[in-house]
């Protein structure tokens, strides 16, 4: 789906718990999700820390949407 969105001109960040898969299938902008069962979250953290983690991941994705990208890339989650 990601490739088709990109093909239509919509830069798309895909969060995947198994980045090797979108990398192999050629999605350009990939970020690692936390885990399959909680892609953007962590039930081991207290509520508010989990929300901050999620926000940090999404904010990083916003940065990636502005960054140059010419091939399938796993972008780190840095603030």
């Amino acid at each position: 789906m990601t490739r088709e969105l990109e093909r239509l001109g919509l830069p798309t960040v895909i969060f995947s718990a198994i980045p090797a898969i979108p990398l192999a299938f050629g999605a350009p902008r990939i970020m690692a999700a936390k885990a399959i069962r909680h892609p953007l979250g962590d039930p081991g953290l207290p509520r508010d820390r989990e929300r901050r983690l999620r926000r940090a991941m999404v904010e990083a994705a916003l940065g990636v949407l502005q960054a140059p990208c010419d091939r399938p890339t796993l972008f780190p989650i840095t603030s």
């Binding site: 990601t2 490739r3 798309t12």
Partner: protein
């Protein structure tokens, strides 16, 4: 068995009627071979004959659907062929679709074997390759002579009532249909043999080819995310409670669009996860874990992102055939573009 009777289907151009101006030509018929039917007839080498050529304008077929197909089938059936051949359509999209549609209808509704030929990147290939055998051609009509040989060969085979062989034997585009066969040797032996051959630089043939991924030029990055409209899409199966769009737990046949217009986050009361491929208790507990509406809403309020689009899109990624996933991406993407969305965050599980 006597000579195989063949009916050939062509469009208005290859039938010699005219070009674009005649694309709305209604179905018509002529006895014997016409245009590319002549080299095709020659390639049959007396073992078969084109008893009639049915032709129709590409726009007529594409615009009028079943009504025209039925008229074409009626013309075809009149000549009681053993096999029907459509095209070759080469790179022409409308002609390719017409050929695919005619060939498929002949097989399904007349019970007569049919085949067609076109360029492998013809958009009709994705639509029809699973339904009828499509012989690949080059994009331009210059190689007609070679193609008719392949078409004739398969047409005679099918006209005689022989079953369709593998794509390699019968020279057609793989249909993606997996046929179970029992091998004499266990997989462990076969794979070690393949590996040894590969390591020793000897020829080997993989039993499961890795899907070819063609190079994609990524979309141009956003100039300024602070004024951009972003949409959330997920294959994680987060949908409104009750799953109103009835998204299936596996092999989803569709996607769901739902509004998050006044929501600051997703709650377990109003949303659920219907994905059948992973244990979704934690996502059910807090659906933002798969569809981060809360985070995006916060960032939107702070001006870190221009706007969170009011609709989310969801489907289930479990067991999704690639071509279906592609179709979802295209359909969702077209809606997003029409709505002025500029970028997407997609969550997978």
């Amino acid at each position: 068995m006597g000579r195989i009777r063949m009916v050939h289907y062509l469009n208005q151009f290859f039938a010699g009627v005219g070009g674009e101006k005649h694309a709305d030509l209604p179905p018509a018929i002529r006895l014997g071979p016409v245009g590319p039917g002549l080299p095709l007839q020659e390639a049959l080498k007396g073992e078969g004959e084109i008893v009639a050529t049915v032709y129709c304008g590409d726009d007529c077929v594409n615009a009028n659907g079943d009504e025209v197909i039925r008229a074409i089938l009626e013309l075809v059936a009149r000549h009681r062929p053993n096999v029907v051949v459509a095209g070759p359509a080469f790179a022409s999209g409308r002609y390719g679709v017409a050929c695919g549609a005619v060939a498929q209808a002949v097989e399904a509704r007349l019970g007569i074997p049919a085949l067609t030929a076109m360029s492998p990147d013809n958009p009709a290939v994705e639509l029809y390759r699973r339904l009828v055998p499509i012989i690949p051609t080059e994009s331009s009509p210059a190689t007609m002579k070679e193609i008719v040989v392949a078409m004739a060969r398969l047409a005679l085979k099918r006209g005689r009532g022989e079953p369709l062989g593998s794509p390699e034997e019968d020279c057609y585009i793989p249909r993606g249909i997996r046929k179970n066969v029992v091998e004499a040797r266990p997989a462990a032996e076969r794979v070690v043999e393949l590996l040894l051959a590969k390591l020793q630089g000897e020829p080997y043939r993989t039993e499961i080819p890795f899907p070819q991924v063609e190079l994609l030029t990524p979309a141009v990055p956003l100039a300024d995310v602070r004024i951009a409209t972003i949409a959330l899409v997920t294959s994680g199966g987060v949908v409104p409670k009750g799953n109103p769009d009835r998204i299936e737990a596996r092999r989803a046949s569709r996607w769901s669009r739902f509004s998050i217009a006044d929501l600051d986050d997703l709650t377990a009361e109003d949303f659920e996860c219907v994905h059948g491929g992973f244990d979704h208790d934690l996502v059910a507990e807090d659906p933002d874990r798969a569809l981060p509406v809360d985070a995006l809403r916060e960032l939107e309020r702070e001006g870190k992102v221009g706007r969170l689009y009011e609709y989310c899109y969801a489907t289930v990624g479990a067991g999704a055939p690639i071509d279906r996933a592609r179709r979802f991406g295209r359909e969702i993407g077209e809606e997003l573009l029409a709505a002025g969305v500029q970028a997407v965050i997609l969550t997978a599980t």
